[in-house]
């Protein structure tokens, strides 16, 4: 192997493994997130230039940290912003060695809490977390969320400016605030995952593994950083399990023609068994904790448990629907929402009858009329009870509202397969 590819590989690996640690260390030391991010980026850019010629340093992470710290100090000197704080920064930290690895883990957690602070808008939290903790570039994030690079750049700059001006603290929240704040962090990660799992926007890839992969990586990180046996870590475990069991089905979820494939029609042989094994082990860990009275079942782990029932069934017909109905019932009790009830109705249709499910779904019309999945579910149930004309209208509405290309294709095909297409018969070819 020549030096250049090996060096490029080393830079990429170091970036993946060390980015958050480097930014977190700089942020703590200089109290400036903007400076931390820029200097970390510069240090990696320097590595790209230097490592192919000079060779890969024995400790790449430490090399990046030292380089970034030197850059930061140079920058502060050059700008000679002589306020007391930065003067102090020179004196205290000039040429000091990088932190030992263990000590900065806590800094990464601080970084996550800062980026997911409730005083920031949800879209700012998502963007900032991907940039500052995940190390994705602004163009990458802009592409993932289908906004212009300048727009995304401004969103991130504005969020950083607010953090600085409003003194959003760089620390782990107080004990009493921790459950709510961890909940907020997990919500951001789940949103990133879901955007990747069912990407919105015309002409976009229906599944963005860059986003789902990043969400999983960050959730792993947050989980590892939270204290063992804490309720917060339990929640993170539940979310990680949910993501893994969902991600495991990716290859089977979209057909070669770019159409979404329903769970019962998926090729289960194409599911990723490694991810499933890991996800199931995490679900078991949570179930054991709840059974032993050490924890209460949370939202994410109940969703993970539902997914676990699905992946355990060798064929769709083997699915234990009674257990799924029961799990949705539990979810309704701790986190009631029309969407949870909608999903329970799907399980009821299998376990009981489509008539019973349809009656339940119809009670949700008031709150879910703008939600594509409501109309898609209703369409399927109407089809099952033989009300083709009503089903057709429901598919129309679902297609109108669906933002995901693979999902629309699926709905169009389902609509095309109805017994008696009424009104203007739009015959899309069913594959």
């Amino acid at each position: 192997m020549t030096a250049a590819p090996a060096a490029a590989e080393a830079v990429a690996r170091t970036h993946r493994e060390e980015w958050a640690r480097v930014v977190a260390g700089l942020a703590r030391r200089f109290g400036d997130l903007d400076l931390a991010e820029e200097m970390a980026a510069e240090a990696f850019a320097t590595a790209v230039e230097r490592w192919p010629a000079d060779g890969i340093p024995p400790n790449p992470g430490a090399w990046i940290t030292t380089t970034a710290h030197r850059r930061a100090i140079d920058r502060l000197r050059r700008e000679s912003r002589r306020d007391a704080k930065q003067q102090e920064a020179f004196m205290m930290h000039d040429d000091s060695p990088p932190d030992p690895v263990g000590a900065v883990d806590d800094d990464r957690l601080r970084l996550v809490f800062t980026c997911c602070h409730p005083a920031l808008s949800m879209e700012a939290r998502v963007a900032l977390t991907l940039r500052i903790v995940g190390g994705l570039t602004v163009p990458e994030i802009a592409h993932a969320f289908l906004v212009q690079e300048t727009t995304m750049g401004q969103r991130i700059s504005r969020a950083k400016a607010k953090i600085k001006a409003a003194h959003i603290p760089f620390r782990v929240p107080e004990h009493t605030d921790l459950p709510a704040r961890v909940g907020g962090v997990l919500a951001v990660l789940y949103l990133i995952f879901n955007e990747g799992y069912l990407a919105s926007g015309e002409g976009s890839d229906p599944i963005r593994r860059d986003l789902t992969g990043e969400a999983i990586r960050l959730t792993r990180l947050v989980r590892e950083l939270l204290p063992d046996d804490s309720a917060e870590r339990g929640e993170a475990t539940g979310l990680l399990a949910l993501m893994l069991l969902t991600e495991a089905r990716t290859a089977a979820r979209v057909s070669r023609d770019g159409e979404l494939v329903r769970l019962d029609e998926q090729d289960r042989g194409a599911w990723d068994r490694t991810l499933i094994a890991e996800g199931l082990a995490l679900v078991r860990e949570r179930v054991d904790a709840v059974r032993a009275g050490r924890a209460r079942a949370g939202r994410y782990e109940l969703l993970a448990a539902i997914n676990a029932v699905h992946v355990r069934a060798p064929h769709a017909r083997d699915t234990d629907w009674s257990q799924i109905v029961a799990l949705y019932g539990q979810l309704e009790r701790i986190d009631p929402s029309p969407i949870v009830t909608l999903n329970k109705a799907i399980a009821i249709s299998e376990f009981d009858s489509p008539q019973v499910a349809l009656a339940l779904v119809d009670t949700l019309a008031g709150s879910l009329d703008e939600y594509h999945a409501f109309h898609a579910t209703r369409a399927e149930l109407l089809r099952l009870v033989g009300r083709s004309a009503d089903a057709h209208a429901a598919y129309d509405r679902a297609i109108e509202l669906a933002g995901n290309t693979a999902e629309s294709s699926h709905l169009i095909r389902r609509r095309g397969q109805l017994a008696t297409p009424p009104r203007s018969p739009q015959k899309e070819e069913a594959s």
């Binding site: 409730p118 005083a119 001006a165 409003a166 003194h167 959003i168 929240p173 107080e174 605030d177």
Partner: protein, 117 residues
């Protein structure tokens, strides 16, 4: 330490009982607010606190030109706006948000938290 302006946002047109629905409600909120203010002062974080008269009592002054111009009314005509304020001095935004949450609860209005430069 950082200073924050906590703005009490509510109806610009006061009812008989300021913003409150009844005399009782007004008395309760004021008593609770006063007790809260004392706690802030004791904790050493209170810089200033007071309520404002109705927005319609405001006068706008413009002396950017040679002669000062006076005009009646608030600077921005709106249904809702500033009715009172706290200025606090605390370590960071988390501390400010905690105090603002209590403030909103005792005075029964929404609070805008904004840092001083």
């Amino acid at each position: 330490m950082a200073r924050y302006l906590l703005s009490v946002m509510g109806r610009q047109e006061y009812t008989e009982f300021y913003g409150y629905a009844s005399a009782d409600e007004m008395r309760e909120a004021m008593a609770a607010t006063e007790a809260f203010n004392e706690r802030l002062a004791d904790a050493g974080v209170l810089v200033f606190v007071d309520g404002l008269e109705e927005a319609s009592t405001a006068t706008v002054v413009d002396a950017r030109g040679d002669e000062p111009l006076f005009s009646d009314g608030p600077f921005i005509e709106a249904k809702e706006g500033l009715n009172g304020l706290w200025i606090i001095d605390v370590p960071d935004l988390d501390a400010a948000l905690k105090i603002a949450s209590e403030a909103s609860h005792v005075c029964r209005e929404r609070i805008e938290v904004r840092p001083f430069a």
